[in-house]
Amino acid sequence: MNVTVKNTKAFLTDYAIYVVLAVLIIGITLTDPSFLSLSTLTNILHQNSTKAIIALGAAFVLITGGVDLSAGRVVGLSAVISASMVQLSDYPQKFFPHLNELPIIVPVLLAVLAGLVVGLINGLIVSKLHVPPFITTLGTMVIVLGINSLYFDMPPNNSQPIGGLRSSFTKWGSGTFEIGSFSLPYLVIIAIIVAVICWVIFNKTRLGKNMYAIGGNVQAAHVSGINVGRNLLWIYSIAGALYGLAGVLEAAKSGGASNGYGNMYELDAIAACVVGGVSTTGGIGTVPGVMAGVMIFGVINYGLTFIGVNPNWQLIIKGLIIVSAVGFDVRKYLAKK
């Protein structure tokens, strides 16, 4: 009897966040049974694919014991860069009026590269100048916004939202892959591929193991012969490239871009990570956990809107979930009393 109570309690502590998710889904379904459907699932997945990619990038940095505030603004930068180069040749308000249609891969790679360069700079500042990651990425976040806004304001664009994107580009954001009557968005497939690659890096490569070691005890990592600086360069660069990719996909999904894209996405990403069990002190975190974290917020956003909950209440619920999830998680890792 006592044992059952104890086990139930332990179960609730360990899986609190999934319990919350289940309660939410049940509550939403009771209010409107049509919530439980295949289209709901694909909608939620489609909405959260780019967020998942950003969260994975953020997880790299968090596991090393750092934090990356530049994520959202990098998304904005790469969205604008890619969109500015994939406009239809006959679109009246072209960013580059004399630019011919480039193969799609060129702007995509340039935009991802821009993200990677920002990540590399973050990594250099953190590892060579030993500026704390929070401050480093706070600085680059603001700088990236400035650069993006300057680019966006260049004549003849003069801060007009960029539109008229070619369909060969936008299809990656809105197109689907048909399996019988079921249509799976390309975005979801891309996010799954990225997640699998991240899982392999986390679990099967030296870089991944070093990432956990650096977050677990940076001094011991140094003594063990891990080149901490070089590993951090790689990690911040990969994170930056993932934000860059997410930015491209955001532009493709919405069919346009402006310098305000990605605002505060870094906070969503960090929230998804910590709710998914990534430790903010480093050394702990898994890809499935991060995915679960992203899905939890996805269900909340979609589900609560579905049954018509006031968006302001949604904010309050999200905040409570972040705090309580970490509260439970910390209890799990504290010395068991």
């Binding site: 030296r206 677990g216 063990s224 891990i226 050394g283």
Partner: protein, 505 residues
């Protein structure tokens, strides 16, 4: 009930963790004004018992009484309030604040009236001065605590315990980082506390100390209490055999091999920091155990860390197998087949939240890399498994987070980590610090075996018997200089002490 002669009674204490019965019906009775030594190997349950006393763990069974009154200890605040204080092995002061603020933290004296109350700095200063005078301590209350030595900070911790009107003070390995003189000072403070009727529960692995200062000794093994004896009825051998549950005929393994040719030559090693090591030269032979003795502050750790590329040099030449080499970072040292077991296991050794497996293979990852950067999981597991068996590491599984292992087992994992890199030269910095007698012998055996296999070992140790028992030669440092190298077989403790104290005032 009130007629008891004991100040503190812990009776029938039991505590279990998933998979481990950490304490099984343990009883510990302590008389006022005495030093009660608590002994046992690492993992015997000493720390767990003390954590129960200090309200950090709540025991599943048993009762704790102070002066016959049952205590309820939900947290350490309650323990402090009941007159129980603990001096931890690792001290955690607030480094950038003053001595007095550290002492009165959480109960700073206030003046003025609500809600306009301010910290009364003058009263705090006076109270601290008075407290230090009572304990015969000479520290200015407004010094920034981070600037003081470990031993000073420790005596401040003791003063803090006294300021709580502690009736029972637990000291966990209090002398592990103190020099000879500092130990004497600590013992004087302890004598003073005894006169005030304070009971001291003293945890230490150092037999000489225990036999010298304790009145009673309780020995634990595998979570059980083996017994309590008067210290005067005990000898080192008796304690050891009761701790490990068998007779230890010898404390150091036989050494079979004779050192070979010179392998490593260190010349004129000098640190850029003025008071650190300077002009140190020595040779290390193949298959040799070179002990490094000296007092705390002799800069031995700094020297060895410079050798491994963690600290920088202002001058110095290094010759390996007759060829000059340069080591600027640990990676270079590892490439030259060197390994370093650091002194601060928790700070620079273990990755607490990572598994035993990851902790074992971390310095060796390159060898598991298959094409396309993928690591070979099977080999990683096999190597870990072999290491765990070879060094008999006690762990529930290789997936267990290393922080749940005892100190001795953590040390074995660290040793395993470096053995996997197949080093030729092992730098061991206090390899048995904070490790119990049984595990110590195992580690000595491993070290002796390695030397017999032709590996060269530099071993820093502050324990004389260990230096004399293990080393082929002993290099002694004092205040950053190498003051002499003596033969391990013929040297005496006096000779080493004389060299170690050569430059000290």
């Amino acid at each position: 009930m009130t007629t008891t002669q004991y100040l503190l009674e812990m009776e029938g204490i039991s505590k279990s963790f998933p998979g481990v019965q950490a304490l099984d019906n343990v009883t510990l009775n302590v008389r006022p004004g005495t030093v009660h030594a608590l002994m046992g190997e690492n993992g015997a349950g000493k720390s767990t018992l003390m954590k129960c006393l200090f309200g950090i763990y709540s025991p599943e069974a048993g009762e704790i009484r102070m002066n016959g009154q049952k205590l309820h200890l939900p947290d350490s605040r309650a323990a402090l309030g009941s007159g129980i204080s603990m001096i931890h092995q690792e001290l955690h002061p607030v480094p950038h604040r003053s001595v007095m603020e550290n002492i009165w933290l959480g109960r700073l004296p206030l003046r003025g009236f609500r809600p306009f109350r301010f910290v009364d700095g003058k009263k705090m200063f006076r109270d601290t001065e008075k407290l230090f005078k009572e304990l015969d301590m000479d520290i200015k209350p407004d010094t920034i605590i981070g600037k003081l030595s470990v031993s000073k900070i420790q005596s401040i911790e003791i003063a803090k315990a006294v300021s709580y009107n502690a009736k029972v003070i637990v000291m966990d390995e209090p002398t592990s980082s103190l020099t000879g003189n500092e130990v004497e000072h600590l013992f004087r403070i302890i004598a003073g506390l005894k006169r005030r009727g304070v009971a001291i529960i003293y945890i230490s692995h150092k037999m000489e100390e225990i036999l010298r200062i304790s009145d009673e000794v309780t020995i634990m093994r595998d979570g059980r209490q083996i017994g309590t004896w008067d210290a005067k009825d005990l000898t080192t051998d008796l304690i050891i055999s009761r701790m490990v549950g068998r007779d230890l005929t010898q404390r150091y393994p036989e050494r079979a091999n004779v050192p070979g040719d010179v392998l490593l030559k260190v010349e004129d090693f000098t640190s850029p920091i003025p008071k650190s090591f300077r002009n140190v030269s020595f040779e290390l032979r193949k298959g040799e155990i070179l002990g490094v003795g000296g007092l705390v502050g002799a800069q031995r750790t700094e020297l060895i860390e410079a050798l491994f590329g963690i600290r920088s040099l202002s001058s110095g030449r290094l010759t390996l197998r007759g060829k000059p080499i340069k080591i600027r970072r640990p990676v270079d040292a590892i490439r030259h087949k060197m390994a370093l077991l650091t002194e601060e296991r928790r700070v620079t050794g273990i990755f607490p939240v990572l598994s035993v497996l990851e902790n074992t293979v971390v310095a060796n990852q390159k060898r598991y890399e298959k094409p396309y950067f993928i690591l070979e999981d099977n080999k990683r597991r096999e190597d870990t498994d072999r290491s765990i068996n070879r060094l008999s590491v006690k762990t529930p599984s290789m997936k267990t987070q290393i922080r749940y292992l005892s100190g001795g087992n953590q040390q074995k994992v660290l040793l395993a980590r470096w053995l996997l890199t197949e080093p030729d030269i092992l730098l061991l910095d206090e390899p048995t610090r904070g490790i119990d007698v049984g595990a110590k012998f195992e580690i000595y055996t491993i070290i002796a075996d390695l030397a017999a296999q032709g590996k060269s070992i530099i071993m820093i140790s502050s324990e004389m018997p260990e230096l004399l028992g293990m080393s082929d030669r002993i290099a002694v440092m004092s205040e950053g200089s190498l003051t002499g190298i003596v033969d391990g077989a013929t040297a005496t403790e006096e000779e080493i002490m004389r060299l170690a104290a050569q430059h000290t005032a």
